[in-house]
């Protein structure tokens, strides 16, 4: 929790007339300096600034430090801290039950890339409309610092043990298997993460945000590749991001040719400003190739790797009723007596 930010002026409200307080949650119990707390703050800011009604949001998590964090933001949203690695299935069920709910999943690398790898992959295939934020620190914090499956080759634990297995790159998996918004950021990169989160909120499909989020207690030392120090030296932003919500005008302060505007489902715009290289985030193979090149160079590539605003999401593919299934009246869910009579007659 930041202690230096001054409280907002008493009357400051967002576009739906809410102060920031309703977007906050309980006091964090994570370690001081934990990257996850910064991500929680970004979530609070983004949902507040975009004027999302908090009661329309449902938070989901699995098990681990990251999965505890939904208790620390959006206290006015329903939350479900489920079982290890299987939050995707809980979120799937909940969003099927109520398609109007905005799903926000927060998970970790231990939760997603080991026990949860199967459910993660199938979530990708289904393109379930929700945000899936991976707070990636390369270690299991809650069980005191064992390697996770995203730990980089050669990364060193505090105890001196060196990781000799290659990591899963959750962004590469997400790109390959069907997520329609894929991005990587760093918990310390406030501006980039804000723009990404807002774009993900505006996206009508599965958004996977892999956020490197250092564990100050177990993985922030010399030899770790997920430390603050390592990220400061090796983060390589693909581009600069600006998110312009649909209810604001797009300013035209940047020269032509230097920006690419991605129109999101709700009419918002994700403005991508070029940083030295040509990168088109609608080209899946270019994104995979960029990740591959960065890995060879020892860089941590951040930015929006891929956006596809056209692919239908799971709810659309199922041709579901517009109103939530959960609250359909009996007249719509129980067929008539005539229907039963007809069925019985056929079975005679």
């Amino acid at each position: 929790m930041s202690t230096t930010v001054a409280p907002p002026p008493p009357k400051k409200v967002n576009r739906i007339g809410l102060e920031v307080i309703p977007y906050k949650g309980g006091k964090t119990t994570l370690c001081a300096g934990c990257g996850h707390n910064s991500i929680s703050e970004r979530i609070i800011e983004c949902f507040y600034e975009m004027g999302i009604e908090p009661w329309k949001v449902a938070k989901f998590s699995g098990i681990g430090c990251s999965s505890k964090s939904p208790a620390y933001f959006l206290g006015m949203s329903h939350g479900f801290n489920s079982v290890h690695g299987r939050m995707p299935s809980v979120a799937t069920g909940a969003i099927l039950a109520n398609r109007n709910v905005l799903g926000l999943g927060v998970t970790g690398d231990g939760d997603t890339a080991s026990i949860g790898l199967g459910q993660f992959m199938h979530l990708l295939r289904r393109n379930l409309p929700m945000l899936y934020v991976i707070e990636n620190n390369g270690v299991y914090g809650l069980t005191k610092g064992q390697f996770s499956a995203t730990a980089d080759l050669g990364s060193k634990l505090k105890t001196g043990i060196v990781n000799d297995l290659p990591p899963f790159d959750c962004c590469a998996l997400a790109l390959q298997w069907g997520a329609t918004f894929v991005a990587r950021s760093f918990s310390g990169d406030k501006r980039q993460l804000q723009a990404m989160l807002k774009a993900a909120i505006a996206h009508n499909g599965l958004s996977v945000l892999d956020v490197i989020s250092p564990c100050t207690t177990f993985n922030d030392h010399e030899g770790s590749t997920k430390s603050y120090g390592y990220m400061k030296e090796h983060e390589e932003p693909l581009h600069e991001l600006d998110f312009v919500p649909h209810y604001e005008d797009i300013s035209v302060e940047i020269a032509e040719g230097e920006v690419m505007d991605v129109r999101m489902h709700d009419g918002s715009t994700l403005r991508i400003k070029k940083l030295g290289r040509d990168f088109n985030p609608t080209d899946k193979f270019a994104a995979l190739s960029a990740l591959n090149d960065a890995e060879k160079r020892g860089e941590v590539l951040t930015g929006v790797l891929y956006v596809d605003t056209a692919k239908p999401n799971l709810i659309e593919m199922l041709n579901m009723a517009d109103e939530p299934l959960a609250t359909l009246p009996e007249s719509k869910t129980r067929p008539s007596r005539q229907a039963l009579d007809e069925l019985m007659e056929e079975l005679r």
């Binding site: 309703p22 309980g26 009604e53 908090p54 009661w55 329309k56 449902a58 989901f60 939904p70 208790a71 206290g75 006015m76 949203s77 329903h78 939350g79 479900f80 801290n81 489920s82 079982v83 299987r86 995707p88 299935s89 809980v90 979120a91 799937t92 069920g93 909940a94 969003i95 099927l96 039950a97 109520n98 109007n100 709910v101 199967g118 459910q119 992959m121 199938h122 199922l318 041709n319 579901m320 009723a321 517009d322 939530p324 299934l325 959960a326 609250t327 359909l328 009996e330 719509k332 869910t333 129980r334 067929p335 007596r337 229907a339 039963l340 009579d341 069925l343 019985m344 079975l347 005679r348």
Partner: protein
């Protein structure tokens, strides 16, 4: 059978006065994948259409094609629809199993067989009817590649002639089976039936005593398998989210449900579905989706078998503790692992009652018939939402996958019960709520659904320790209080689940208790005990867990109470032991069968008689 004991006795030739009418079993032995299912279903239906109580049981291997499979049709004027152990009429089409099938028969049984198998050389105490199937099929089915499928219809004609089955009923059943769109196929098969009939009329004089005669005991009844019946129950219960992972013997439950939902649950005004069906990646995910959907307010369900139940364990524990409704159908089969996946058992009772880690208890329904699959499906959804907990419907392969005669299902008379859910308007009046507070004293708190448009609607659901406001807590009193409330909730279910079926016999010293499909064998066994051994018995069929007060009352009215289990470890009895007093437990005795076939009356009768002699 290892040796061939040729009996010297000749089978008797029966006069019309010695005929056995409407009381026999036919076993058709074929090769899996040879298309015999149609011929068998037609035969069963024809007997049903003649008004005779009938049951059909498929005993098939875990195999797509090539291994032996048996289909048993039982006609019973007395209405017994359990499996009959003795086979009276064998149709031996499978060279692999024919020899053993014949050697197992009781003296006096009849055998229709494929002539080249020369089975008549095996025994002299049976009635043999050789039929040259290959010779007969050629003229009626010019297309060679269809002959394998049409060939089996010939035995329907042979059986019809020998048992005096009305050929018009065979034809009616055939047309129904193929439907209007496959009229040509029906005609082709009808030709084969006639060929079998005509051949028999000309060449095979009847020597066995078995025969059908028209009755009036099936009027108005339907034929359906338990899985389809459960599927109908789910649809009429108003299910909205269905998740599944294919597993024998439960797959056809959701497969049937999908057909029904597409037909009756597409909103005619919008053309959109009022349901969602997801084939999950595994049972871990299917139960996760059920829990997520139930939490968000859907009527959610999944269907599985034992291995799936094992995988669902952790999530079910979370559902219990976080108090999330959901319905799980367990179509039980032999376990563990792949076990005998195509054979029946009631082997998941104990594990399911206490599924998951920590202190957990789950309500279970035990349907014994397709009609109960239908009605209990509806009750299960209501119970799950009323008590905010996972609820199990424990059927088995025998019920789920076999065709049963049934009364038509009653349209639900009660409205759907959604339980204690607070809306935004409720919250406006109340000002707020505490999710796990026992406001009404029944152990059940009020819940809100995600998406409820009120600032006070939200709460945080977790498997970890919480107080009654759903806040994280590691206090020992918070944890203990919560566990005590969960137990009160469970106790309150005793009066809310269906009461047992009770049939007291005055002065009977024996009591019999069972669940589910054991009912059919037990009912018949009671008659055998009475008629053959003079043993009177009372009967209780338990329909749900937690057990009601009737259990203790029933036990105390009898000297010895036999608990019939379709598993090795007497799981139903073990579950009773957990809550009965010592004196009551002392009266319990166990009858167990776990060979994987549907339970038969003779097995129970023999075992009880044996124990009564001690």
């Amino acid at each position: 059978m290892s040796t061939l004991e040729v009996s010297p006795a000749e089978p008797r030739h029966y006069e019309s006065s010695q005929r056995i009418i409407n009381d026999f079993s036919i076993q058709v032995a074929t090769v899996n994948g040879s298309g015999s299912q149609t011929a068998n279903t037609v035969l069963m239906r024809a007997i049903f259409q003649m008004g005779i109580p009938v049951s059909g049981k498929n005993m098939f291997p875990s195999n797509i094609a090539g291994l032996p499979t048996w289909f048993t049709i039982r006609a019973s004027k007395d209405g017994y629809i359990g499996r009959k152990k003795e086979i009276d009429f064998l149709v031996a089409m499978n060279p692999e199993s024919a020899r053993e099938d014949v050697m197992k028969l009781e003296s006096g049984a009849a055998v229709i067989y494929d002539e080249p198998l020369k089975l008549d050389a095996l025994r002299s105490d049976l009635h043999f009817y050789p039929v040259p199937f290959d010779k007969l099929v050629g003229p009626v089915c010019p297309e060679a590649k269809l002959r394998k499928l049409v060939r089996n219809m010939i035995y329907d004609g042979v059986v019809a002639r020998l048992l005096s089955l009305d050929m018009e009923e065979i034809r009616t059943a055939l047309v129904k089976q193929f439907g209007k769109r496959k009229a040509k196929a029906a005609e082709l098969n009808w030709g084969a039936v006639k060929a079998g009939y005509d051949f028999t009329a000309k060449n095979l004089p009847k020597t066995d005593p078995f025969q059908v005669e028209r009755m009036n005991s099936t009027a108005g009844k339907i034929i359906i398998d338990g899985n389809a019946a459960a599927a109908l129950g789910c649809m009429f219960a108003g299910v909205t989210v269905v998740t599944w992972y294919p597993i024998t013997p439960s797959s056809s439950l959701v497969e049937s449900l999908m057909v029904y939902l597409r037909r009756y649950r597409i909103d005619p005004e919008t053309g959109k579905a009022t349901f969602a069906v997801i084939q999950a990646e595994d049972e871990l995910a299917s139960i996760g989706m059920v829990i997520g959907a139930g939490w968000a307010g859907a009527r959610s369900m999944t269907s599985t078998a034992g291995p799936g139940i094992s995988l669902m364990s952790e999530f079910v524990g979370l559902g219990y503790y976080a108090e999330v409704p959901g319905v799980i159908f367990d179509v039980q089969r032999v376990g563990p692992s792949t076990g005998l996946p195509t054979r029946t058992q009631q082997g998941d009772i104990l594990a399911t009652a206490l599924l998951s880690h920590g202190d957990t208890r789950h309500p279970m329904f035990f349907p014994a018939s397709p009609e109960e699959c239908f009605t209990m499906a509806i009750q299960a959804f209501d119970l799950a939402e009323q008590f905010q907990t996972p609820v199990f419907v424990m059927t088995d392969l025998d019920l789920g996958m076999n065709n049963w005669m049934s009364d038509p299902f009653p349209y639900p008379t009660e409205p759907i019960r959604r339980g204690k859910v607070l809306t935004a308007e409720d919250l406006e009046k109340l000002g707020g709520f505490a999710r796990y507070k026992d406001v009404d004293g029944d152990g059940v708190g009020y819940r809100t659904l995600p998406g409820t448009g009120h600032p006070a609607a939200a709460y945080f659901t977790r498997g970890s320790g919480h107080n009654d406001k759903a806040q994280y807590s590691e206090r020992d009193d918070d944890y203990a209080n919560n566990m005590d409330r969960l137990l009160r909730k469970f106790e309150n279910m005793r009066s809310q689940v269906p009461a047992p079926l009770l049939d007291y016999t005055e002065n009977a010293r024996l009591g019999l208790i069972c669940i589910g499909t054991s009912h059919h064998a037990v009912s018949e066994s009671r008659d055998q005990l009475r008629h053959e051994h003079g043993l009177e018995s009372s009967y209780m069929r338990i329909k749900a867990y937690p057990f009601g007060p009737e259990l203790t009352q029933f036990i105390r009215r009898h000297d010895r109470v036999y608990v019939i289990d379709q598993n090795r470890d007497a799981q139903l009895l073990a579950l009773m032991r957990l809550e009965l007093e010592t004196d009551d437990i002392a009266r319990l005795r166990s009858v167990r069968y776990y060979g994987g076939l549907p339970l038969d009356a003779r097995t129970i009768t023999d075992e009880i008689v044996e124990q009564e002699r001690i």
